[in-house]
Structures are given as C-alpha cells and as structure tokens.
Symmetry: C2
Subunit: 448 residues, 2 copies
Amino acid sequence: MELALRGRISIFFDNSDKLHFVKDPLILIEENRITDIDSYSKLKKDIVGHDIIGDKNQLLIPGLVNCHTHLAMTLFRGLADDLPLDVWLKEHIWPLEDKLKAEDVFRGCKLGVIESILAGVTTANSMYWYPSSEAKAMEEIGFRGLVAAPVITGITKLEDAIEIVNKHHNTAEEKIRVTLSLHSPYTVTITDFEQSYNYLKEYNKNCDEKSKLLIHTHLTESENEMRESKQLNTKYGLEFPAVRTPTELLNHIGVLNDNLIAAHCIHLNENDIKLIDSKNVRVSLNPLSNAKLGNYMPPIPEMISKVKNVGIGTDGPASNNTLDLFDTVRFLALYYKGYLHEPTIIKAKEVFKLATIGGSRALNWEGIGTLEAESLADITTVNLKQPHLTPKINDDNVLNHFAYSMKGKDVENVIIDGKLIMEKGKISNVDIEKEIDLVEEITHRLLQ
Amino acid sequence: MELALRGRISIFFDNSDKLHFVKDPLILIEENRITDIDSYSKLKKDIVGHDIIGDKNQLLIPGLVNCHTHLAMTLFRGLADDLPLDVWLKEHIWPLEDKLKAEDVFRGCKLGVIESILAGVTTANSMYWYPSSEAKAMEEIGFRGLVAAPVITGITKLEDAIEIVNKHHNTAEEKIRVTLSLHSPYTVTITDFEQSYNYLKEYNKNCDEKSKLLIHTHLTESENEMRESKQLNTKYGLEFPAVRTPTELLNHIGVLNDNLIAAHCIHLNENDIKLIDSKNVRVSLNPLSNAKLGNYMPPIPEMISKVKNVGIGTDGPASNNTLDLFDTVRFLALYYKGYLHEPTIIKAKEVFKLATIGGSRALNWEGIGTLEAESLADITTVNLKQPHLTPKINDDNVLNHFAYSMKGKDVENVIIDGKLIMEKGKISNVDIEKEIDLVEEITHRLLQ
C-alpha cells in the first residue's frame, strides 16, 4: 500500500518561492515521492490503494531541515552550561571527546536522530567524529542526513576522508550523503583546504547534482577565529592585507562557491555578505547556539534579504541544548525584534522558509523542504487541536502559530522518503527508553 | 487519602534562597500543605495513608508562577503578529476587545488556565476585563490566581473595583486573590492612583499578609509611555523636573512600595532600579513579550542582582504567543548571553529562581514557589526520561535541562493546593477539545 496524508491545512513553499496554503489537503505518495497535493475533494478519486495517515486536526508541512548540527553530542547535553566558549570546549568537551569510541558515537547519534524525528526534523547535516557510526545510526532508523568526512590539519587526513566518501556517499537508498568536513579556516591550513578542494573538483566532474560532494565548514563563529585567521594569512606566506576576513580568505583560495556549506557566518561585513550571495555559498545560521555560547549574533535580517541559499540549524545539543528546530525558529523570530526594537523585522513566513525550502538550498538537496508534486516525500504533521495552537482562524494565523507557539512535541507523524517513520508520536522499531539508558551509561563512563 | 509524590530528583529554593537538590525524593502532603520532603528511604515509614503519585523518572519542582499575564487573550493568539505595538493594539486588539462579553472572557480564560496547567504553571497573575469571569474559570479548574479589579481613568471606576475586591478577594479556599489593577501611569491619572491607594491603605490596615491587597500596573513598557508620563507631570500641575521618570513619578505620589506589582520595568535608569529595590517593589519581567512586540528589553541582569522581589511572566498569549513559562525561562537565559556576548551573564539556577520562589515574592504569596515543609502543596512534575532531557548525570545537569531543554509539554503531573489537578498529562473534569472549539467559535464571532 502507498501512503496518503490528510490534514486541516498544508503550508509549504515551492521551488519558486511561492507560499502555498492548501485547505483540507490530501497528499498522495508513491514510493519515495509526492505524486500530488490538493484539496481532499479534488483528489479523493485517486485515493484507492493508499493507506491514509493523519486526520482533520493535522497541519501538513515539509519535514524540517537542520542544516548544521553535531548529532552525537547528545552525549554531552547540559554537562557544562553557562561557561565561556573556550572553557566549555577546552576544559569540558574536548577531554570527553578524546575518550570517544565508535560505538559511543553510534549511540549518541542514534538518540540524536530519535530526538530530531520526534520534533519533526527529517534531514540533518551532522559534523562529528566516526562518521561511519553516524551513517549507521541514520540508516538504522531511516533518517535522511549528511555525515562528515573530517579533514583537520594535524589530526585527520584527506585520504581517510576519501575512504568515508567512497563508503557512504549516496548510500542508504540515497538518503545518506557525505560532506568533506574542513572544520574551519582556523583549524585547517590553506594547503589542506586547497588539496581537499582539488579532490572535490575532480569528484564532482560529470556528477549529477545529487551526487555532488560539498564542503562543510564553520565560518566566522568566534572572535578568536577572526584573530587567528589573520595569523594564518601570515603563517602561510600569502601576501594578504592585514584585515582580510576569513570569508575573503576562502574566496581568495577559490573555495567560496556553491560547493560550500558555511555554518554560523557571524562576523561578516557588507562585502562578505555580497561575496557569499554572489558566489552562491550555502549558509546555515544557528542563532540559538550563538546566543547560548555568548558569541556575537549573525546579521540574520541582512542574510535573509540578501543571500539566496540560507537555512537554519540547531548546532549540537551540547550548545543549544536541543535538536528541536522549532526552538531555533522561535528564538530567531524573537531575538532580532527585541535587539533592533523592530517587531516587523523578521516575519513568520520567513522563518518557515528558512526551516524548509531554505534548508533544501543550504544543503543542495533537491526535493526536500517542500511538498510540491514530484518532491521527495519527507513530511511532518503537527496536531493543531491543542490549547496553545488555538484559535485557528485563517492561513496567516496558523503560520504565526508555526513561528511563535509550536514545539517539536506537537509533531504527530513523520514520513521520510515515503516511509512512515513516526505515527502518532511513536517511532517504529525503536525502544527509546533503552536508547536513553545506553547514552547515560556512556556519558557516565566518559566522565570517569 | 492524602497525596505523596515520588521522583528521581527534586529541586527547589527555600525562603532563605538556599538551593536544594533531593535525590530519590518523597514529598508528603496533608490537606493543602507539604508536611515533609526528603529522600524516600528516610520518609517511607510515614507513607501509610498516602496515595503515591509520580515515579522514578520525575523531576519534582514547585509549581511555576506566572507573574504577569492576560489569560483570556488566548482568544486573540496569533491573529496579528509581526506588527508594531500601536498598530497591533489599536487596529487589531482593541476593536476586538470592544465586542467582548463576560462569557467570552470566561471561555478564553478557562483555555488559558488549561494551557497554563498543561505547562506546569500553578499560579498566574492575570489582568483583564470581566475579572469575575476570570475568577470563575480559575475556580472551576482549581487554579491559583490573581484577577484584576480594573481602574482606568475615564473607563472604569474605583467603586466598581471595590465591588470586585469584596466579591473575589481571598475566595475559592484562598486560591483566588484580587489586585487593584491601575493599568499604567499613562492611562491612570495621578488622582486616580492616589484615591485607589488611599482605599488600599485603609483596606490593608490590620490585614495579615495573605489578605493584603496589591496594586498591579504596567510600568515603563513602551517608549510612548516615557513621553506620555512627562505630559502627565505637566497636565496635573505637579512641579516635576521635566525628566522625571514614570518610576520616580510613582514614588513621588507614594505608591512605589511593597504593595505594588510592577510589570515590565523596561525603561529604568540606575536610580529607578535602586528605588525599586529599596522600596521593596514587586516586579514581573516579561522579556519574551517585550522582544516580540519590539519594545526595548528590560535590564534583567541588573534586576536579578540588585532587586529582591523579582519574578517572570509570559504576558498575554496574544503577544508571546504561549502561556508556557518554560519559553520565557529559555528566552531569558539565552537573550542576554547573545546580546551582551557573555555566556555567564544569567545562569540556569537564576532563571529557575525567577520562575519559582521569585514568583512568590513578586506576588507576595507566601508558601508558593518552594517545596520546603509547611509550604503550600503546588507541585509540578516533569518526565525526565526523554531524549531531549538526556543525559542526567548530576544535579547541575538536571538544572541545566530546566533552563535550556525543558518544555511545558514535558510536564506530567500538577498538584495545586494539595489537589491532583493533572495526572499523566490529563486534567480532571476538563474536555479540552470542547474548550478549544468554544474559543474558536468566539474568535470567529468577534472577527465578524
């Protein structure tokens, strides 16, 4: 039997940035694609042979896209909060990470995938150690994701990264992809950036879009990085002006283009923003994590209006502290209003776009983040019949609830690649309590 | 049978500001009070005759205290977001409020009470029209709350407010109190402030603490108010310096003291903050609503360190957009870290304090907001066995989850005044779906 979904209303952006509201919607699925979406009365003739999921209380939206995270860091959630970034990293996180084994990352990532699905996220771009463990966890549950083949100067090598690419890129029925994870311009030398990019250029020759490799990096997340990038300029003998920004540096060495997913993008000047847009760079904004770590905040209003390929991410659950993208949506919608004293600065439809079709563009993953016909069947349904989502009067009102009232826990059903992964809040074939216990055992062991 | 509660851990501040963590806790209740709290092993001998609620996965915390809201505004949630404050109020909210009837407020408030309880809030200080309707809704469900007897110059009169006080103050087994609601220094004349205060002073003579009346006002919420307060100074012929602040104005006329609950407190200079603390004014901070409306943000780090009686509120659900105090907790814990680039500026235990014992002080309601023996039995339990609340390694780790990961929907049981109001997510004697439908019918009618 193929699946079909019913709801009260469906909301999605199509690939031409048109916002659709479909009342009393029916979505028809065949294999892993949406074949049609329209009102129930128009489509009900085609419903034969479909199992109907959902009911007239559901909001049907694209599965949410988490553009930058570190899934397995569920292991370290809430262990060391309210600390400066360098103390947090150097005294708490790195010593724990030194002890990690492949199995630990598998368990941490599996819990992260479960948490994501419970909150309606169907795709995540994760960067972490032991990418094979992350790929295994995603595949086991049927999640869509990108894992990171790490290249960090002095720590991991391109050859090992290539092995990960060959092993996992476009596997699990094309639900898993690999990024070349060049951690950041301050931890990866220009030589390593250039070598990796040369490999990627060769790899991508003659590839179709979905088979292309991307680079995933942290760009201008911290003030330290701004200082250290200047040292790199000198260290590698390039004759840069002293004030060259990390963004300009990446442009100078030729990697600032549509093969790059740049996470954070906090310290940008006007020229950097222009560069990022004109070069079609893919961006993941992670404002909630930036706030929690006391970093500066990214220029999101400008990014929304001036940059094409922008999505949002939670960052890792040790600095957020959840994988619930609704938290990031709401924080983003609120923070800049308060900061700029401007209640109109970011609107509900804009954050909805960032969390859906924006994610598709930020990850270059065609077919996700929308519900138009022929797209991939990644669908989240939210139970609207709840006090905090009342009243439901018109289209805009429901969209406002998405931005300001909804939470991951309101999600009821999740379909990924045409498969019903969660029904009425239950993920098939997963013993959540057991997974929680396993993660707690690991964290206890790491802390010893 | 009396109630007893079990859990994995209990966290609370006592009245001397000491933070307690009780592992494997047992709470014993008799009638409406907590008689004892300690580890299960120490107290289990006293358990005979008690019905045990909860299990070893629960976090036991004081019922959360919402210090400033407008409960019945559930009717207007999400109807007009992303707008400037004056457009929102004048073009959308006020025209709808003009059509309100007592029954509408009852329904709106009842849904607000339900939403509050679902999110672990056991006390709310609400300011709205038709306070008898709000009192009826609170009493019907067994909620603890303050309703507002409004005095707004040219609209409502002190005599009518006095009638509300006489009818509802300290009713419903002492769970409902009344505030004299002098809306704000820019909508209430100095004469009306003074008259109301004279009545209150007489009323409070010879009262015990719990019978005392308080004034509830909006103080320095908007920039307009700062301008208009100067006009008032002139209008009523008082020889004020031109730059007298609204806080100084209230001090000048003698109402800035421990009989006052001041909501918002955004535009404060250093002297205002000193005045507010030295006069023991009670404060409700509502940062999420302030951000959403694009108001300036209150100086919360200073308020936390310099003012004694500080709690937090959601404000109304038309400007938040929920009554879930966890949303406000998390936003507050995050916003100032991002704004000041200072990850240590507000800590998890400080927001926990604001949401619990701080609320007791802000509302002058002894016995709520704590779990120490002899306090009122208002208790919220949260199911910790969930992916986004994993791992649980030590006390601080669980407190961090409270600040950064928990949501209202994680709440499982709620006890108010010794009565089990919600068990395993179900509120007794309430048909939630019916209440939702009734509210939507009202909103539809008001919009016609």
